[in-house]
Symmetry: C2
Subunit: 200 residues, 2 copies
């Protein structure tokens, strides 16, 4: 049975982006500190890094596609360059209809205007028996958590305190978590949770 | 060289007590879910549990001593029963002077009215070459973090989401963390951080 998963890097005080998110710093001030383990300890974290893009389809919020650009700019190709790392359909949640944007290497961005359940339905269809991965950002992940649609949350907890920014778990209501796996390198603790409907 | 340490259990969304803290539920609604690992997996966590009280002196906030009772009640012996688990001097931060309260097993509660640095000085004197442990709650730990007086933070991250409560790291400003150890059982992930003056 395929799962709906989410890999997301979080500061130890619960933020998945630092303060002052903007175009040239879409993950906010210091946001790069969340991802040091991916770059500085790539070898130690190779398995985790590979699993992040091991899905049959992806879903992301609009800001994660545009990296903070306000309105659609038809010239703008998105944050992800010529060959995004997904190699699969990516469904972007937005209020603005737009034609799909095919990129090299098998990634095509599709734009979904009728909500998170519709996006998930389309992603499931595209993924077949592979997983669907929710990419972020905070608001998107929180919406899927609140709706009870996420099966597995894979937190990558970085040793950094932001004090402000985009908070994970905000407004998700009563959800339950079962810790299923823990691993680490020097710059991160990886914790995988199975998400259940309530902590009951 | 002795250290100033803090062991504290935290929900994955950053709370060290749940909402609605009150006398009969001093760690708030659902707060017991933070500590299931101590009771239900005591054997697997024996080493961690033992290390929590392995210090020469302790510091706690007033609410942690009174468990939420407002004013001093001279009959009230504190939350910790006849024989508290500390077996050492415990310095309680308060605005209300009070004579020390000796308990069985070597624990004496002392009441410090002139601030966190004074309490730490007295605790260091009492501890000699052993560590000083900050017990909590959130406000006390945050004050020591903000003042740069904590050397080692040992987070015990429980698989629970509170959504509200007493938040760790609130107002601590620019601190740095170096992750030095990670371990786990089914109901908790233990992460030890060395605290540095800024994330630099």
């Amino acid at each position: 049975m395929s799962k709906v998963t989410c890999d997301i890097a979080m500061s130890v005080d619960g933020f998945v982006a630092g303060p002052n998110q903007r175009l040239d710093e879409p993950i906010g001030d210091g946001g790069d500190l969340l991802h040091r383990w991916m770059f500085e300890e790539a070898e130690a974290n190779a398995e985790v890094i590979e699993s992040i893009t091991d899905a049959g389809a992806f879903i992301m919020g609009r800001n994660m596609f545009t990296a903070g650009r306000g309105d659609w700019d038809l010239e703008w190709k998105g944050y992800w360059g010529e060959e995004p790392p997904y190699h699969a359909p990516v469904f972007v949640l937005t209020h603005h209809p737009r034609e799909p944007v095919p990129r090299e290497g098998g990634t095509t961005f599709h734009f979904v205007t009728d909500g998170i359940e519709s996006a998930l339905g389309r992603a499931r269809d595209a993924a077949g028996d592979r997983n669907v991965a929710i990419c972020g950002g905070a608001q998107t992940v929180n919406q899927y958590l609140a709706a009870g649609l996420l099966d597995e949350l894979r937190l990558h907890i970085a040793p950094v305190v932001f004090g402000a920014g985009a908070r994970l778990f905000e407004g998700v209501g009563d959800i339950g978590l079962e810790q299923t796996a823990v691993s680490r390198s020097d710059l991160v603790t990886h914790v995988t949770y199975r998400v259940t409907p309530s902590r009951g």
